[in-house]
């Protein structure tokens, strides 16, 4: 294990699964990074009621240290942290691991939220949130993480990108590309039917498990992240195409 080079660098090596459990009965560790004491405490109570084991951190700095030490299966980060702010924290964690991340935000239409999603969060909740919503999202995320792609079949080819659902692996020109579980799931969903247009609602339902009414922002930022990782020129994508007014599709 490499040692931390600076405060905030997670002491953790890329590629090792972050406490993902295939067996849901074993308590998953959740890391909760939230500076408001009372929110942190009540949220911990709710999560523990759901059977999770919760590690708390009151700041991004302590959160990153704890991330390295405890290897949680899911991380909840408040974007409005003092010091190193939430989305920096999110980005640091994402650079080290593909653990599912949920961010907490004040409003659904701030730059912070989009920045947080771009930095690698899988999902978000606006404050004030209902504990039930939080637990539902975490459940969906963890299910996604544990099932891998949730699809069998041989590899799918999209130009110079190869998707192998069973192995949970994506290669571009032979080189393996690291995707978060959510990104992978999104890609597989569309790659199973190249050329077919998927609307945001359908993607939200199939990939994130939301009912038909939802926020397209999640889909948009994840597509953006996929392009950043897979496309030679993300501004002019050749693999994941936007179909104006309708949604997205992938080209074989």
């Amino acid at each position: 294990m490499s040692t931390a080079e600076a405060v905030g660098a997670p002491v953790w090596r890329r590629g090792e699964p972050a406490g993902v459990c295939n067996d849901e009965s074993v308590a998953t560790r959740i890391l909760l990074i939230e500076d408001d004491d009372r929110i942190r405490e009540t949220t911990r109570l709710v999560l523990e009621d759901e059977g999770y084991q919760v590690d708390e951190a009151p700041s991004a700095e302590s959160g990153l240290v704890m991330f390295g030490q405890r290897s949680p299966g899911c991380v909840i980060v408040d974007l409005m942290l003092p010091g190193i702010n939430g989305f920096e924290c999110c980005r640091a964690i994402r650079q080290a691991s593909d653990v599912p991340i949920v961010v907490l935000t004040a409003r659904a239409d701030t730059h912070d939220l989009v920045a947080g999603l771009e930095a690698g969060a899988d999902d978000y909740l606006t404050k004030p949130f209902h504990a039930k919503e939080l637990t539902a999202r975490i459940r969906a995320l963890l299910r996604r993480a544990s099932l891998g792609s949730g699809r069998d079949g041989s590899s799918l080819t999209l130009g110079d990108v190869e998707v192998v659902p069973d192995e949970g692996v994506v290669r571009k020109r032979g080189q393996e590309v690291t995707l978060t579980k959510t990104e992978f799931r999104l890609l597989c969903e569309m790659a199973a039917h190249p050329g077919r247009v998927f609307s945001r609602e359908v993607l939200l339902e199939n990939v994130w498990g939301y009912p038909s009414v939802g926020d397209g922002k999640l889909v948009d930022t994840h597509v953006h992240r996929l392009r950043a990782k897979l496309e030679d020129d993300p501004a002019n994508p050749a693999h994941v195409i936007t179909v104006r007014g309708l949604g997205y599709k992938v080209l074989a």
Binding site: D36, R38, I39, L45, A106, K127, P128, A131
Partner: protein, 443 residues
């Protein structure tokens, strides 16, 4: 400006006219007086010479000193003699000749001979004789004409200059006044960043600077006020999150509570929920008050949206879309969702649920109608229910003191922002239909 122009014309014009007539009178008098002196002198001399040698009339006449612009004529013993062929009774008015010859008195007359003006003076001599001298006034006439023309030109020039001066001065004063008026009007209309140009004339610059300072402080005050509701709501988010989670934890242990505690917990949970919605709505509506609400259009399948929200509220009412095949329009999805959700919730909470819903995207306007069969809305309340924190008679009776909150006010603002509207109609035999209208913009 018009009156300034009139004055600008009147003064030089009247001055010119006065000057002209005064000059003319003076010059004429001068000329007439000197002509008279000359004529008298010549008459006396002629009389004396005639007495001395009566036979040399023509020589006597030609020896008289007359300037080149005048000619003498003599009536001697009933015969006319003149310096030249034209100087005779035909060159003078008959009335003058009569006055001098018959009336035996000196007389003068100005008259036109052809195109020229002339002055003739007649002086009676001894016996029935008379001496006349005809002066040409051509030079005087031409002098006066020149004077008249220059005075006219001068006053026209004066008029033009005063017109220009007036226009310039007016613009200097009126333009800033008009600018202030325009700035004030746009500020009153809500554009708080209108300011004046504090350049130019020192006094006007002071006025502009003072005005700008006043608007600055007004704007700061208005922005502070509109931010307050938003700031308060932000502050409430964190405690509300804690409250909500704490209630959830207790709900998880409801079975451990006595019936009374459980009931209290239910009430607590409901109110916390209501509190959350209120804070959300407050934040939303304060964005409109601060003028920072911006429409974000994206393709929305309104049919799917309505069906989704109805099923979210456990409503089984059928959705009628007529023969519309394409129910995708450009709309602000977040706001439209909130709008429909609020109207549906209104029907559920106050009217027993949604009985029917319909969508129409044909035509220039899209209409979404949500009907209920509740007590309906009293005619007097119809306009008022969209006001903030409205309390209608129906609302009060139904929900034990609960007002309508901000839900319908937000519906109104959301629709208005997208260029649409909302109205409520009664349904027979009882109930209400809320109709949301927005322009059909196709992607």
């Amino acid at each position: 400006m018009a009156s300034f122009a009139l004055v600008g014309l009147a003064i030089p014009a009247s001055l010119s006219v006065l000057t002209y007539y005064w000059a003319r009178t003076y010059l004429l008098d001068q000329r007439q007086t000197s002509a008279l002196h000359q004529a008298e002198a010549n008459a006396t001399l002629t009389g004396t010479l005639l007495d001395a040698s009566p036979a040399n009339v023509t020589r006597i006449l030609s020896s008289l000193q007359t300037p080149s612009t005048s000619e003498g004529a003599l009536l001697y013993n009933g015969q006319w003699f003149g310096e030249s062929a034209v100087a005779g009774p035909d060159a003078m008015p008959a009335g003058l000749i009569r006055a001098v010859v018959d009336g035996r008195q000196a007389a003068r007359q100005r008259y036109h001979q052809g195109r020229a003006q002339e002055l003739a003076i007649g002086i009676p001599l001894r016996g029935g004789d008379a001496y006349f001298q005809i002066f040409s006034l051509a030079d005087l006439t031409s002098t006066l004409r020149t004077l008249r023309d220059s005075l006219a030109a001068g006053s026209l020039l004066g008029f033009a200059v005063s017109l220009a001066l007036g226009a310039w001065a007016a613009r200097r004063v009126l333009t800033p006044a008009r600018d202030i008026g325009q700035a004030a009007a746009s500020i009153a209309a809500g554009q708080l960043d209108a300011r004046l140009d504090a350049e130019g004339d020192r006094e006007l610059a002071e006025l502009a600077t003072g005005f700008n300072a006043m608007v600055d402080s007004l704007q700061a005050r208005i922005e502070r006020d509109s931010r307050f509701a938003s700031d308060v709501s932000h502050e409430l988010r964190s405690p509300l999150t804690t409250l909500s989670s704490a209630v959830q934890v207790m709900q998880n242990r409801r079975h451990e509570l006595s019936a009374r505690s459980a009931r209290a917990l239910d009430l607590l949970g409901d109110e916390v929920g209501r509190f959350e919605r209120l804070v959300e709505d407050l934040l939303e509506i304060s964005r409109y008050d601060a003028g920072v609400a911006r429409m974000e259009l994206e393709p929305v399948d309104v049919m799917a949206l309505l069906k989704g929200l109805l099923s979210e509220a456990d409503q089984v009412a059928p959705v009628d879309c007529g023969t519309d095949m394409n129910t995708v329009i450009l709309a602000d999805r977040r706001r439209l969702e909130q709008t429909v959700r609020n109207v549906v919730r209104n029907a559920v909470v106050h009217a027993g649920g949604v009985s029917r819903a319909s969508i129409s995207t044909a035509g220039p306007d899209t209409e979404i109608a949500i009907e209920d069969q509740g007590p309906g809305i009293a005619h007097d309340d119809a306009g008022m229910i969209f006001e903030r924190f409205a309390r209608g008679k129906a609302a009060g009776r139904r929900s034990s003191g609960q007002g309508l909150g901000l839900g319908l006010s937000l519906v109104l603002e959301h629709m208005r922002l997208q260029g649409g509207s909302v109205r409520v109609e009664p349904v027979h035999p009882h109930g209400s239909r809320f109709v949301l209208r927005l322009p059909t913009r196709r992607p």
